[in-house]
């Protein structure tokens, strides 16, 4: 609004100019200095308390006993191997052996269970992450059987330079992946279903008919649309995020007696801001459907017979109805004042902030006057 318009309104409201502004401003400036020069004591106390807290935390972290894994000392390593075999009589016998590897250094011994294949019994002993000065050796004891059978035992040393096939793979750190998608959706307390009979707000208030449900043409009460590039740049600057998202679910509700549409959307691509691909969120937009009898309760000028059979459609500036399953560009704000906690709202009021792709460019649902191309979007994203 221009200064001239502001002055017109001020005069129309009958507000005279103040007389004592200048002298009060001087007094206020002096008093402000006094306030700013308050005793330092509280500030010093706060800083000191913060520093003391920090020191306590650091001390706790450094003095906290750390768990150390003891890899050293041959004496500490004892391997028990169990050989399992099936004798001729069918009975399963197991013969435990205790072995101590020699000439090892800092290794971890892993023993796998014995495997029986036919009459062959194999046990694998693997030493991981260690080095050996010589081949690890084990004493083996032949099992006692009624019949001769084959028995073999394999011992391998796993150096970090050599590749050794082991029965248990070495666990490695999982590869770094992108942050998992988040579910940020919220549910409104009240929801409305759309009745078979619908009527637009305009029809209800003016009593004039229109074709079908119809979206009313642009009228005097609608906000003007300023030049394209400036508007798009401005929306990009003020948005919490700019996303391409698919509408999963559309729910009609109301807040403070105003019709509101809640849309659960899934981010397909992010062009700026703090939302990631795969995130799910709920955007609340003005307008939608509400039961006619409820609408009439808050709008006394409205009247229709058999109101319980009708839903009223409030466009709130929307010229192209949204559909579930379609994708749109959203400029969203995380300002949820007046909305359920965690909800998102359009960055600019109304459907100026929602765009659909048509004929190679993105058109605002508030009207084709506001649009941008892929190239413009890429340029804004790079800035």
């Amino acid at each position: 609004m221009t200064e001239k318009d502001k002055k017109k309104i001020t005069e129309a409201l009958g507000i005279p100019e103040p007389d004592r502004k200048k002298e009060f401003a001087e007094e206020f400036a002096k008093r402000s200095e006094g306030v700013q020069k308050k005793p330092i004591k509280p500030i010093i106390m706060r800083i000191t308390a913060a520093a003391a807290m920090l020191a306590v935390c650091i001390g706790a972290l450094t003095l906290f006993p750390k768990h150390k894994t003891d890899f050293g000392g041959d004496d500490n390593i004892e391997v028990i191997e169990t050989t399992t075999y099936q004798s001729v009589d069918g009975a399963i016998h197991s013969v435990p052996h205790t072995t101590s590897p020699t000439n090892t250094e800092g290794g971890v011994i892993v023993t796998t269970a014995a495997k029986t294949s036919g009459k062959t019994v194999t046990a694998v002993t693997t030493m991981q992450n260690g080095t050996t000065k010589g081949p690890a050796s084990q004493r083996t004891t032949a099992a006692k059987t009624t019949e001769g059978r084959d028995e073999s035992r394999t011992t391998t040393a796993d150096h970090h330079e050599t590749d050794v096939t082991t029965a248990e793979p070495i666990v490695q750190d999982p590869p770094v992946t992108a942050a998992p998608p988040r579910d940020l959706t919220v549910s409104p307390d009240v929801t409305y279903t759309v009745r078979d009979n619908t009527i637009t707000e305009e029809e209800l208030l003016t009593g004039e008919g229109s074709d079908g449900i119809g979206i009313p043409p642009r009228g005097e009460g609608d906000p003007p649309i300023s030049p394209n590039d400036q508007k798009i740049q401005h929306m990009f600057d003020i948005s919490y995020a700019v996303i391409l998202a698919k509408v999963d679910k559309i729910v009609y509700t109301s807040i403070d007696r105003q019709a509101v549409t809640a849309e659960d959307i899934t981010v397909e691509a992010a062009y700026g801001g703090s939302l990631n691909t795969g995130d799910r969120l709920t955007v609340f937009l003005r307008g939608g459907y509400m039961p006619a009898e409820e609408y009439m309760k808050y709008n006394r000028r409205a009247h229709i017979d058999n109101a319980e059979d009708y839903s009223v459609y409030i466009s709130a500036g929307c010229r192209m109805a949204q559909e579930e399953g379609e994708s749109y560009i959203f400029f969203v704000s995380d300002d949820d004042s007046g909305l359920p906690d965690g909800a998102f709202s359009p960055a600019e009021d109304g459907y100026c902030s929602v765009f659909i792709k048509r004929n190679g460019k993105y058109i605002s649902l508030a009207g084709e006057e506001l649009s941008f191309t892929e190239e413009q979007l890429s340029r804004l994203q790079r800035q």
Partner: protein, 153 residues
């Protein structure tokens, strides 16, 4: 955030005058508002600072309004100078503004003249942004019609 007294004084004064309709009282309340503001902790956010100022001003005006007798309201509503100004100013616009409720007039002043952010006004009047925007659009439609401009925001 440091307060620009030169900018905010006029705005708070206009708001107080609209509430109490008396010039001297409005100035007293404006100054009282700023003095009480100094007693509060300073906010870094401009929105919170504005919200605090208008809350203090609103409470002072409410207290003052309760003190004013009904007979005094009509006497102080306008004097001879105001009547002349009314004749010279846009009569139609004045009629539109007079037809608004008190709260709507305050909202017009706060939003369009004082340029207070929408979220601050919504919190002051304890309504949602949606309800406030709807109200503003309705008022704007009427104002635009009488100011005769399409690009009025």
């Amino acid at each position: 955030m440091s307060l620009d007294i030169n900018e905010q004084y006029d705005k708070i004064y206009r708001y107080c005058f609209l509430r109490v309709r008396h010039k001297e009282t409005a100035e007293d309340l404006t100054q009282e508002t700023f003095l009480r503001y100094l007693e509060h902790p300073q906010y870094h956010s401009e929105d919170k600072t504005l919200q605090l100022l208008y809350t203090i001003a609103g409470n002072l005006c409410t207290d003052e309004f309760r003190k004013i007798k009904p007979s005094e309201i009509s006497e102080t509503a306008s004097d001879g100078k105001d009547i002349e100004d009314n004749i010279l100013s846009d009569v139609q616009l004045k009629q539109v503004l007079d037809s608004l409720s008190d709260e709507d007039r305050e909202i017009v002043l706060l939003r369009f003249v004082n340029e207070v952010p929408v979220n601050v006004i919504a919190k002051l009047y304890n309504i949602s942004r949606f309800a406030l925007n709807r109200r503003l659009n309705r008022i704007l439609g009427s104002l635009r019609e009488h100011l005769g401009k399409e690009e009025l925001i």
